[in-house]
């Protein structure tokens, strides 16, 4: 049953997230289009993915000319954390929420909407969830469109310097987390080390760039989980 009051409550909770998404999505649209994608493709990615790290990485590989299997696997690995968030949310969802409703609003689970939805002891109704995801979806797509359009009218010299942009955003995602947690830092260093080994040792040259990243990720995360299995509170935030 739809509750307007719950929906409005969700909208209010989602508004700061939606506003916060605009500049990040703007940068994404900007990078994707200066990397060679048409504006509509950048917006389509934002519209169908609604995620930061996963779609940045996937777009990076698309622009680099990687195969679709690599793109899908890399994106999937980054998105594995949503399983945890979705599982955590499933404990707090109103039992009356229908399957159809769950199928729709689960699309809007992001790091930020998850955090907002999961704080407090509120039982989450579908009306609330629809309100919560509405403005983040709007902000994410509007920001991408704007960034993509502006990217097209920039001088070429500046566009050449854009190549570092997406990587710089990756750096901005991992450095603060590494600063907070020596474990996260170690895992990042292992991933980079494995990636470099696979890249520079000639015997491994048959491994493509996407699979290299996947192997490095699995190795580093497995070592991390083996060494530090009790990490529970930190480590889930990426965007």
């Amino acid at each position: 049953m739809f509750s307007t009051a719950e929906f409005k409550q969700g909208l209010a909770a989602g508004m700061p997230i939606g506003i916060g998404y605009v500049p990040v999505a703007f940068t994404f649209g900007f990078m994707a289009v200066s990397g060679g994608l048409p504006v509509w493709a950048a917006v389509l990615i934002s519209f169908t993915n609604l995620t930061s790290a996963g779609q940045f990485a996937g777009t990076n590989l698309i622009v680099a000319g990687a195969g679709s299997v690599e793109v899908a696997l890399t994106t999937f690995v980054i998105n594995l954390r949503y399983i945890l968030m979705s599982l955590a949310l499933s404990q707090k969802i109103d039992a009356a929420a229908s399957l159809k409703e769950r199928l729709i609003w689960s699309f809007g689970i992001t790091d930020e909407t998850f955090v907002v939805a999961s704080v407090g002891n509120k039982t989450l109704t579908s009306s609330y969830m629809f309100g919560l995801i509405a403005l983040p979806i709007l902000g994410w797509n509007a920001g991408t469109l704007l960034g993509g359009c502006i990217s097209q009218v920039l001088p070429e010299a500046l566009q050449n310097a854009m190549g570092i942009g997406l990587y710089a955003m990756f750096v901005a995602l991992i450095v603060p987390a590494a600063r907070d947690s020596a474990r996260v830092l170690l895992i990042i260093l292992i991933a980079v080390a494995v990636n470099c080994l696979l890249m520079y040792i000639p015997a491994f040259s048959f491994i493509s760039s996407g699979f290299r990243v996947i192997l490095a990720t699995i190795a580093a995360s497995a070592v991390g989980a083996f060494l530090y299995p009790e990490e529970s509170g930190e480590g889930g935030e990426t965007s």
Binding site: T48, N79, I188
Partner: protein, 102 residues
């Protein structure tokens, strides 16, 4: 760039982003108990982003020198917890300025 490949990639990305979100709230509705699996899932975003960034970031601009400069600025600003947008813009600007002198 083949638009067919781009569209296939986007469709696959959509699918593999949606699946981890939708399956637990619709089907399982149970907690993962294994702390090993939980930790593994928690660590994957950092590992994947690290491997995506290094060493490729050093070949992302015309010259190694400008890329190192941009990377240093990005790491420093990231350490100071500046936003994604600020870090990206500062790195781009650094590369742009260094390229002017090369």
């Amino acid at each position: 760039m083949s638009m067919t490949r781009v569209l296939i990639c986007i469709a696959l990305m959509c699918l593999v982003t949606y699946i981890p979100r939708v399956i637990p709230v619709t089907l399982f509705r149970k907690q993962i108990r294994s702390r090993y699996i939980r930790s593994f899932l928690n660590y994957t975003p950092y590992a994947v982003l690290g491997a995506l960034t290094f060493p490729d970031i050093f070949t992302s601009s015309g010259h190694l020198a400008s890329a190192i400069g941009g990377t240093a600025v990005a790491v420093l600003l990231g350490f100071w917890r500046r936003s994604l947008v600020e870090v990206a813009c500062a790195a781009i600007l650094t590369v742009f300025v260094i390229e002017l002198f090369i």
